[in-house]
Symmetry: C2
Subunit: 315 residues, 2 copies
C-alpha cells in the first residue's frame, strides 16, 4: 500500500494580512504528501536544488514520506515562488516565480513508485503528467490536478492527460475554463466524458463537490474565523482525499467511501490554511484530525431531514 | 398561522442566454410569497400601479396568498426592472429601473398583517423596514433581507433595522460588505452581535450557510444543469426558509428545524431558477417539492461518515 505523488517541491515566500514568511517549504507535492501521510504511505517524486537542506527533507521523512525519488540537482536551486494575499485571502498575487531546477524536471520513477498502489499527478506540465502516467504500472487509482497556466497554454496536452486518469481534481474556475462551460454540472459531465470516473470540483471556502457515476455530492467548507495562509489548500485537500482513498478505500469507489474521502480532504485543507506553509499540518496530531472530522460531520449532518408533513396539502 | 412579507412587487423584463421575457410578474415579495405559500398562509404587503392586472393578482391568490395589503395606486405604474444575465448567469446587469409607485411606498399593515405569526422584511429601504417592524405586534419570528444599494447608501439605518430582527438573510458579498469583514464566519458573528439570533448567508450556486446559537451548518446548492433565469432565487430561498419555519417550526429554532428550513429554501430557489420569472414555481406541485427535497438530502447525506480506523496510527 503506497501512494506516489509527482509535483513541485518548492520554497515559498508568502505575505498575508497576518504576517509574512521567507522561503518556507512548499510546493504541490509537499502539501499533498504531508496531508496524505496521515492516511497512507506516501512516495514523493520531485526535484530540488542544492539549497534544499536536511531540515526540509526531514519534514517529509518525519511523516514517513519516502523521498527516494526526490531528485537533488547539485549546484541547482529549488523552485521558488513569492506571493501575497490581500485582505480577502482569496486570490494569490504572484510577485516572483523562479522555476530553477523545476524547469528541467523529468520525473523518474523508481521501481517502488512505478508499482505503487495509487498515483497522483500533481500540478506539473501536462506532457510530464502523461509521461509519468505511462511509466506507472501499479494498476491503481490515478488522479490529476492542474492549473490555469496549462489550461491556457497546453489545453490539448492537458486533455490528453485527463483521458488517461480515473479522477480529476480541479477548482471551480479551472473546470469552467477547461471545458468552456460556465455551468459546473455540465462542465463536470464534459470532463467525465473524457474518461475519468469522477471529478472533484474544489470551491475554496465554499467547500467541494463530487460528480461521479453515482451522482452528485456537495459539501460546505469547514468554517474558519482565521485563515492565515491559503497556499497549498487545494493540494492538502487532494492529499487528504487521495490518501484516504488509497489507504482505506481498498479499491472501493462507492459514494460512501468517496464522501468520506471528500470530508477528509476538506479537513486537511482547513488545517493547512490555519498556519503559514506547512507549519500547521506538520504539527497535527491524529486526535486533531479526528476531532475536526467529527465536528465537520456534525456541521453538515442532515440525518434528521424529513420534509414530513410540511407542505400545506398535508395539513 | 400566517406569514406576512413586505417587499417589492414588480414587472421584470429579463434576457438570459436562454431567451427573454417582457414584463413578467416579479419583485422580492412576489418570489418570496410564492415560495412560502407551499408551506404556510402568506400575506403580501406591497404597492402596485394600475397596470397590475387581474391576471397578476390571480398568480398570487391562486396560491392562497392574501393580497389585502397589496395597495393599488390609481393612475400609477408598477415598479419596473429590466436586466440581463450573461453566459455565466451569476451577476445581473441592470439595464433600466423605474421605481414608479414603489418610490412613494409607505407600507400599511392591516390588522391581519400586524398580528400575523411571523414577519419578513424583504428588500426595501431600511427605514421602511424599521417602520413595519414597529407596527408589527404578532410577537413572532422577524426576518430581514437587504441589498448592496442600502448597504452603500443607508448603512446606519440598515444596522438599526437589523438590531430589531431575529434573523438576517443576506448573500455572501452583502454580509462581507455590510460588516467590512472579508471572513464570512467573523462577519456573521458581527451581525449576530447586533441582535439577530441567526444569520443565513446565501451563496448562490454554492449553497447556503447558517450561523446561529448552536453553531454552523453548511449546505451545497442543488446542482442544476440548466439555469434559465436566476432572478428571484434569493427571495425564493427566503420564502421557502421562512415559510417552512413559520408553518412548521412552532417557534422551535433548533438546529434540526433550521437545517430543514435551509434545505426547503434551497429546493425552492432551485425551482425558481429553472424557469423565467415565476413560471416554474407557479407550476410546481407538492410532489415536485417532495421529490427534490429527498434527492437533495441524499446528495448531502453524510450519515455513513465515520473516520473509523482511517488514520495510519490505527493500523
Amino acid at each position: 500500500m503506497s501512494l506516489v505523488v509527482v509535483g513541485s517541491v518548492a520554497f515559498d515566500s508568502v505575505a498575508t494580512p497576518f504576517g509574512e514568511r521567507e522561503r518556507m517549504l512548499g510546493g504541490s507535492a509537499t502539501h499533498f504528501s504531508l496531508a496524505a501521510s496521515f492516511f497512507t504511505q506516501v512516495r514523493v517524486v520531485g526535484i530540488v536544488g542544492e539549497d534544499f537542506g536536511e531540515e526540509e527533507v526531514a519534514v517529509l521523512t518525519r511523516r514517513g514520506i519516502d523521498t527516494e525519488d526526490l531528485e537533488r540537482v547539485a549546484g541547482g536551486s529549488t523552485f521558488f515562488w513569492r506571493g501575497r494575499y490581500d485582505f480577502d485571502l482569496n486570490a494569490a498575487q504572484t510577485l516572483d516565480t523562479q522555476l530553477n531546477v523545476f524547469a528541467g524536471f523529468q520525473p523518474k520513477l523508481s521501481e517502488g513508485s512505478r508499482t505503487a498502489s495509487a498515483l497522483f499527478l500533481g500540478n506539473i506540465q501536462p506532457g510530464l503528467q502523461s509521461a509519468v502516467r505511462s511509466e506507472y504500472e501499479g494498476g491503481g487509482l490515478v488522479g490529476l490536478d492542474s492549473m490555469n497556466l496549462w489550461i491556457d497554454t497546453q489545453r490539448g496536452a492537458l486533455i490528453d492527460a485527463i483521458r488517461t486518469v480515473d479522477a480529476v481534481l480541479l477548482n471551480d474556475a479551472e473546470v469552467r475554463s477547461l471545458t468552456e462551460e460556465p455551468n459546473t454540472v455540465r462542465a463536470a459531465r464534459k470532463l467525465r466524458e473524457l474518461g475519468p470516473r469522477f471529478v472533484v470540483v474544489k470551491r475554496g471556502e465554499y467547500g467541494a463537490a463530487l460528480f461521479g457515476e453515482e451522482g452528485f455530492f456537495g459539501m460546505p467548507g469547514y468554517p474558519l474565523e482565521t485563515v492565515v495562509d491559503p497556499t497549498g489548500a487545494g493540494d492538502s485537500f487532494a492529499g487528504g482525499f487521495f490518501g484516504y482513498l488509497e489507504g482505506h478505500g481498498d479499491g472501493d469507489l462507492s459514494q460512501a467511501v468517496l464522501r468520506r474521502a471528500m470530508a477528509v480532504g476538506s479537513v486537511m485543507a482547513s488545517f493547512n490554511v490555519e498556519g503559514f506553509g506547512t507549519e500547521r499540518v506538520q504539527a497535527l496530531t491524529d486526535a486533531d484530525i479526528r476531532q475536526r472530522f467529527d465536528d465537520f460531520k456534525s456541521m453538515m449532518s442532515v440525518e434528521s431531514l424529513q420534509l414530513a408533513s410540511a407542505l400545506r396539502s398535508d395539513l
